[in-house]
Symmetry: C3
Subunit: 259 residues, 3 copies
């Protein structure tokens, strides 16, 4: 988080709140969906104190010793692995919790598992707003990162398991999915890669289902720039370009749709 150091010096309250959102955003979003107090998880004083202590050490430790330790690659990879273990556990617990309230609410379970796994990424616009940054042209739904996609797929798998459609035990699914997430994330972190293990699979399925790559081409930014592929529906029969996208002016040119 470049620029975060300056934020912590000049606006430590905003910096601390952002850190808390990054740590506990998943609980806040899940509580919002399920109608529970948003602040419920903040009643765990020890978790909040631990997170606050880590925040303080990251930003204010003399000579940045703590930050340098955490950034040392072997140590970083351990934390990355631990984070994925926690993520998978959160997804499983979230779906179990939603199942408790809505026994047959498939979409409820998937949504709860998804927000528990993705956490603050799904409210990135508002976390940035807290820091005085506003980038409406992109968000985690338009351009899903690997953890967010994986959380969605995991939520679907865990929901199928919870509703007995997937004939594996919960422990087995947690183990397999955790191994998958840990190995992917550790590999991506170690190689500084931004690709996703799902790209290959999506490049076959998405053109069939949706007529183009899901998520589009990231370097073209947002929604616009290139035509969709040869999917089921033809985009050519709808009229003119969007006034809305024209008014985004200086950001990009859009390919005109022929009538």
């Amino acid at each position: 988080m470049k620029g975060a150091v300056e934020l912590s010096r000049r606006h430590p309250m905003a910096s601390w709140l952002c850190a808390m959102l990054h740590c506990f955003g998943s609980y806040i979003l899940a509580d919002l969906l399920l109608g529970e107090p948003l602040i419920d998880y903040f009643s765990n004083n020890s978790s909040i104190l631990l997170a606050s202590a880590v925040w303080y050490l990251i930003f204010f430790c003399p000579l940045d010793l703590f930050y340098k330790c955490v950034c040392f690659l072997p140590v970083k990879l351990i934390f990355v692995a631990m984070k994925e273990v926690v993520r998978v556990r959160k997804i499983a617990v979230g779906i179990h919790h939603a199942h408790h309230h809505y026994h047959h609410g498939w979409f409820v379970m998937i949504a709860t598992g998804w927000v528990k796994g993705s956490g603050v990424a799904l409210m990135s616009n508002f976390e940035q707003l807290l820091r005085g940054v506003w980038k409406p042209e992109t968000n985690e739904i338009l351009h899903m990162s690997f953890p967010t996609k994986a959380s969605l797929y995991g939520a679907i798998l865990f929901t199928l398991q919870q509703t007995r459609w997937l004939p594996v035990s919960k422990a087995t699914l947690i183990f397999i999915f955790t191994m998958f997430m840990v190995s992917c994330k550790v590999f991506l972190t170690a190689t500084h890669s931004h690709s996703s293990p799902f790209d290959v699979l999506e490049s076959y399925i998405c053109p069939v289902l949706f007529g183009s790559d899901w998520g589009g081409n990231h370097h073209l930014d947002n929604h616009g720039g290139s035509q969709g592929g040869s999917g089921p529906g033809s985009p050519h029969s709808l009229p003119t370009k969007s006034k809305e996208e024209l008014s985004e002016g200086s950001r990009k040119k859009k390919t005109k749709k022929a009538d």
Copy 2:
């Protein structure tokens, strides 16, 4: 929704979520007001699956056959009429639900009925944000469309009926208001008109109450540009122009208030 086709090709998840907001936004807003789980309505798997199927057919049907069918004017008018029937029913149910929780909460009932009738329009800024569009200079409160205004007036009428101030039965009021909404909306859709049946009434009442037309002149955009009419209060006695509005810069000039 121009540009929606491209969104559906490049970002189907965002497109689907927007469609769900358009279908079920009223339930989400009402649940938010009444402290119930936002995701409650999503436990109706059949409704979600039906809405998803319609979304898929609209955007991905070969040769856009489904879209062309739905856009064929006679068919479109039938759907417009059905939508108004559902809207009025939602308002009535919403007020009944709010009355159950707050027997004497007049404002609570009106607000609940209003959000049930208006739906996603009241959170249009955030629905657009989901698609990567941000237009803060306008929203449904500043520039109320006919359905939103009608939902507000309907909510007031249904609240008066619920609290026995309006001496008609609920069934009669539902019938009359539905007939009004269906005929207005079908007429406006058939004539491609953007006017509102309330304009005449408001042009008499609002200058008396508020000193100008409610909603201002839409083509002048947002808040600013022209003086209010000869209303009860004089706008001339407050000092200087707003720094806030000056900083909106290129949008409009404001009339200076003389000290």
Copy 3:
């Protein structure tokens, strides 16, 4: 609220909603945190009617008589003092309410007290959005006003008192803190000052804890511009400037961090 008169003439609904947010925003935020209906306070019809009457008189009274009365300095100072009495009471009640739900939730109590005391200020971005104004570069967390800071400190004190760590009675604490708030706010209003009684204290504590003044230099705007002071951590060892802040382009230049 300059420009508010024009808003009330052209968009009275938006003007009224903003006024309601200003009056009851604290209750809405506290209800959001504690999982209660956001609209709960709006069931107090008399409070809403009173607030609406005051709103109408402020904006639509002939010759602005009501506004001129309220703005007359001695009268204004009385209202300022009354507002601080209500603020302190809201903080105390909020913490008591949170304590009832979370007996040992220190952070929950502090947060609830803080939002009860600060009110609409903490959601200023969204209150402005309702009026068609969007200023993401600043918010009440980045640049805390005196009432917001005082509400935070007060919430901490009241939480310490509620959990028996501060050995004073609740009545005594309410009295002392009210006297402090009333005298500060009356003095600041009478002298048209923008300083804060906390500045001196913070100028000693914050460089030690955070390496610079908390809240930074307001006239440098947002987060950027100057280096932090000689705090515990050195900001010099982290690489390059923030791409995020570069992309804020025309707003300010940032000091480059030497590697």
